[in-house]
């Protein structure tokens, strides 16, 4: 998995990658018709992809892979692990940390709206008894959302708070799908708890 073995050079945005007559611009590169040259648009390593034998155009494609390109990116339908940063009256915002089993390389923000917290009685959801800042939640990406954040949902049994800290500072133990208990003080706090574990 070492990228150094492939001896590719580091390119910066604006660097000339080659002539348009010899190369096709792939991801991370672009072709300027005035000059007939292919330039890089990202900072990263350039790689050449050989042309497929079936296509009529036999130019290889040049691609630039940025440093964050090998990190995971949340796609609609993927399960993500996120940490709740802010809880407001009608939504909670969370920092996405992992997509599936892989961690992300750059910051992605997600929003869990009041109607996406659970599947039943969605207009009576109290955000403060579902999440608190600092909770780790497992959520499903609903859509790419708006320019600021992905839309996430915890409206399934296996989605919701996976790990949370109590007011006393201890990691709480889940008791039901709505409650978690602090082992130090015995206080019960309300969360939307995820059903973790195998079949039973």
């Amino acid at each position: 998995m070492q990228e150094r073995e492939e001896a590719e050079e580091l390119v910066t945005p604006g660097e000339v990658l080659g002539k348009g007559s010899q190369l096709k611009a792939g991801r991370g590169a672009y072709f300027l018709p005035q000059n007939g040259t292919v330039y890089a648009s990202l900072t990263g390593r350039r790689s050449l992809i050989p042309p497929s034998p079936l296509s009529s155009d036999q130019r290889p494609t040049v691609e630039v892979t940025g440093h964050s390109a090998h990190g995971a990116i949340p796609e609609p339908g993927s399960i993500v692990i996120a940490r709740v940063t802010k809880v407001m009256a009608r939504m909670a915002s969370a920092d996405i940390m992992c997509v599936g089993p892989k961690s992300v390389r750059e910051k992605f923000t997600g929003i869990i709206r009041q109607q996406d917290v659970r599947a039943t009685e969605i207009d009576k959801v109290d955000m403060h008894s579902s999440f608190r800042p600092g909770d780790i939640v497992r959520a499903l990406v609903l859509s790419l959302g708006d320019a600021r954040a992905y839309f996430l949902s915890t409206a399934k049994n296996e989605l919701g708070v996976v790990s949370a800290e109590s007011a006393a500072g201890a990691t709480m133990v889940p008791m039901s799908w709505t409650e978690m208990q602090c082992p130090l003080t015995g206080q019960i706090e309300q969360r939307k708890v995820a059903k973790v574990g195998g079949q039973a």
């Binding site: 802010k86 009256a89 403060h128 608190r132 800042p133 130090l184």
Partner: protein
Amino acid sequence: MEDNTPASFVDQLVVPGDVVLDLSKMGNQTIKLGGGLHQDCDAITVTKAGRLRFSKPNKYWVESSQKRYVPCVEDTVLGIVVDSKADNFLVDIKGPALAFLPVLAFEGGTRRNIPKFEAGTLLYVRVVKANTGMNPELSCTDASGKAAEFGPLKDGYMFESSTGLSRMLLSSPTCPVLEALGKKLSFEIAVGLNGRVWVNASSPSTVILVANAIMNSESLSVVQQKIMVDKLLQRIQ
């Protein structure tokens, strides 16, 4: 010298770090802890300096007086409008975060008759939701939906006080300062638990006199308050 029975700490001044209750020695009772107390396994320690209070059957809390207000549910406070957004007014209640007052939280409030408050309007409001980390939510109606004196306060003069003085002004039976002032002067007063007091009267000198009397009365005993009010009233009559 150490007397570990809980009665010894009640109504005493306590400072952060004092262990006031030991649950292992108290038998099987349920105790309700209010503000300023923190449970550490079996010991109850004080986290705010003040006086420890106890109310039957099982409530303990620390009463302290500060300039900064911590929002609590069902408190009546005086807020100042800072901004208005589509759904809420942003109101400053001297707490850690701005509070939201929903545009429809008025008696008979509908989308058609939304009140227009400018920045700087003084409001008498009730705290509906106050969770840590979230902005508090306010309302201009009481629990049953009636207006009940909530809403904007016109004219008058607003000054700031500590939270302890606000609680004393609102205590029943009537606080001695207000009783003594009320016998000779007529004025209108609104006290917010967040450390703001609003006074209105027909003449400015009355307003100033009432405001000064209240500000001076914080650390005085009942008799001293009456003497102070009498002296102030003699000066103008």
